[in-house]
């Protein structure tokens, strides 16, 4: 066998290996989906979405959890998006390139890898206890905002970095100020990348359970929150709660709630893909 034959065999082997890797991922996902759907699909109904939690599984619903989740997400978005985008813009557009900047850069990336339960402990101490916000929606939103900020900052920076320098120069040479250049050229050109990062970070926040449990989100909430200072629960916590119950009925409820959560996440990711494609088409004209 000569070396080109060996190379061809290696090429084929790697191809098979890559296919197997992909297949493994898809297979696991498929089994999970099948398991969840076979248990929970029948349970899905309008009443399930609209009912309050109950100690009888067949009467229980996820109304408060869904409501709480939407509240929590809206608050998290309001807090984290402006700060994250602002910080990303500062680091990329205004900040000087020195040792300090690199230090901050590395640490932001590190923060993105910190286990979420740590953020929960931080939130518990600072927002719940020191700032006396209690186990409210606001505490939860602030904690989740901290959790997803690194992702938003990093993705904003990457998107902004991808805008060609020549476009900035064109704008500045026309007498635009830095802010005008950012608002009219840099942000529109990096919109697709930024929005993708935002939605991916939000779909991460949707699935978080650990930090919310740590800050004291309630498990049983028989009412819907009316304001940011109210107590709350969210879907992942509801699911977590139901899976710890011995009755088979609650396990089925958990499966149904998981389906709702999955649909929600797919929906968010779908929006991300749609917005990015639409923006890309517009850019290309």
């Amino acid at each position: 066998m000569n070396s080109s034959q060996i190379n061809r065999i290696k090429d084929q082997l790697f191809r098979i290996f890559a296919i197997l890797c992909t297949a493994a991922g898809i297979l696991v996902l498929g089994v999970l989906l099948y398991d969840v759907c076979s248990k929970g699909l029948d349970r899905l109904s309008w009443e399930f979405l609209a009912n309050l939690p109950s100690r009888f599984p067949e009467k229980s619903g996820i109304y408060t959890a869904l409501y709480g989740m939407v509240w929590l997400l809206v608050l998290t978005i309001l807090i984290s998006f402006p700060i994250g985008i602002g910080a990303g813009l500062y680091l990329e557009e205004y900040g000087k390139r020195n040792r300090m900047a690199r230090f901050i850069e590395v640490n932001i990336s590190n923060l993105a890898g910190v286990p979420s339960v740590i953020y929960g402990i931080l939130g518990l101490q600072i927002f719940n206890r020191m700032l006396h916000l209690g186990n409210s929606l606001l505490t939860g939103a602030l904690t989740l905002a901290l959790l997803i900020l690194p992702v938003i900052i990093v993705s904003t920076r990457e998107a902004v970095k991808a805008v060609p320098k020549s476009l900035r120069e064109a704008s500045l040479a026309l007498g635009a100020t830095k802010w005008q250049t950012i608002r009219r050229v840099v942000l529109p050109s990096s919109f697709g990348g930024i929005i993708t990062g935002l939605i991916l970070s939000i779909s991460r926040a949707v699935g978080e359970t650990a930090p919310l449990i740590v800050i004291g989100a309630l498990v049983y909430v028989p009412f819907v929150p009316r304001g940011p200072m109210d107590e709350f629960t969210v879907l992942p916590i509801q699911i977590f709660n139901w899976t710890t119950r011995p009755q088979q009925g609650f396990v089925i409820n958990a499966a149904a709630a998981i389906i709702v959560l999955l649909i929600f996440t797919f929906f968010l990711n779908g929006i991300a893909v749609y917005l990015r494609n639409r923006w890309y088409r517009k850019l290309k004209g």
Partner: protein
Amino acid sequence: MFKLEAKNLDLFYGSKQALKNISMGIKPNTVTAFIGPSGCGKSTLLRCFNRMNDLIENVRIEGEVLIDGRDIYHSRINLDDHRKKIGMVFQKPNPFPKSIFENVAYGLRINGVTHKKFIVETVERSLRQAALWEEVKDNLNKSALALSGGQQQRLCIARALAVEPSVVLMDEPASALDPISTQKIEELVHALKSKYTIVIVTHNMQQAARISDKTAFFYIGELIEYDETSKIFTNPGHEKTQNYVTGRFG
């Protein structure tokens, strides 16, 4: 009275000196060509006139750059206002990812112009000046990125003209274009001379000879020779210039 003037100008990138004691004056309503081998400092000098070098870190500038007799580096000028008076066209066409109309209107919009009729008229006038109007008048709302390279470059010229600068700086505006587009740009430069002071950096010797009134030859950060274009190309006073314009090096 010179429109643009450099006096004993030194420029350093970190510790590397890119411009060495440059002194020259450019008269209004003339076309001046900067020629010289790559890295000779001609683009750097061009960018001093609208302070685009400020965007690069670790740049140090000594000496004076005067526009209409005012030192733009040391007097208290407003940089944004100053840049509005100096149009710039870059080597690679760099239209914004916006419509053709919005590209040209950009300079007006950042100045806070909202008068719709005025904007429409200015866009048309600028596109006509840049000899692009006939080709795009039916597609003003199409993305500028859908235009050809030559059209994009003329769009960039129209964009620069829309804010009515008195000086237009061109940094190798035709180097990325095909011969026909290049010819259009050159005709344009000629036509614009009556209203604007034009400085053009070029690698193309014939181009410099065709379109400019005066030519400046740079070599490793120094201004070797600056004279009437006809003299530079037929009877240069310096041996290096002679060698460069006849293609013996560079």
